[in-house]
């Protein structure tokens, strides 16, 4: 703070949102932001791309309508080439050794199992199937 009083502080440590509040209180200014759901969104985009055999940069519109510590989430509107990810998974289901619904939830389960509640809603918000189990 003394060396760079006008610096913007970027909080990347979990849980980012609460720590933004702590940091801004300690810094006594508002130039504090957290990575929020951004990093998890990118991570989930990679999961989707791997599952569907496309480049991660082609996964678009991973909307985040409920990545905010809430209990219920809507379906994702993520698209690839204008096609809903949900539809792509359904279309490709017969060509996979994993049932479509299981494939769709697998990244979500990884978040649930390994990342904890702070990331759950990110996975849910980005999941082709938005229903928490």
């Amino acid at each position: 703070m003394t060396a760079a009083p006008n610096a913007v502080m970027l909080i990347a440590t979990d849980p980012p949102d609460p720590l933004v509040d702590v940091a801004r209180r300690l810094a006594r200014h508002e130039r504090v932001l957290g990575t929020g759901t951004y990093l998890d969104s990118l991570r989930f985009r990679v999961h989707l791309a791997q599952r569907l055999g496309v480049n991660a940069s082609s996964v678009n519109r991973v909307r985040r309508r409920r990545a905010w510590h809430v209990e219920r989430v809507p379906r994702s509107s993520a698209t690839i080439g204008g096609t809903r990810v949900e539809q792509m998974i359904a279309d490709r289901g017969s060509r996979s050794t994993i049932p479509p619904r299981r494939r769709a939830r697998s990244p979500l389960r990884q978040y649930l199992d390994h990342r904890g509640i702070a990331q759950v809603n990110t996975a849910l918000a980005s999941s082709p199937r938005g229903s928490p189990k």
Binding site: D17, R64, V70, R72
Partner: protein
């Protein structure tokens, strides 16, 4: 995005006065940090859920008020 002053939109967390807590919403980010927080369209149910989230974070913040 910050150093390059991109003014790009990312889902980052920042303090949102109307919720009294820091939350992640799509935000315009540039050299000065968050320039603007966007308000995605939410259904009534989603808005209630979001407010519950804010309340959870407000409570956590109050609990940690003595942390230094």
């Amino acid at each position: 995005m910050i150093a390059a002053d991109e003014q790009a939109v990312f889902p980052v967390g920042s303090y949102i006065a109307r919720y009294g807590a820091s939350l992640s919403l799509p935000s315009v980010v540039g050299r000065d940090g968050v320039r603007e927080v966007l308000s995605p369209e939410m259904s009534d149910d989603e808005a209630r859920g979001f407010e519950r989230s804010a309340e959870t974070l407000r409570s956590a913040l109050a609990t940690s008020a003595g942390v230094r």
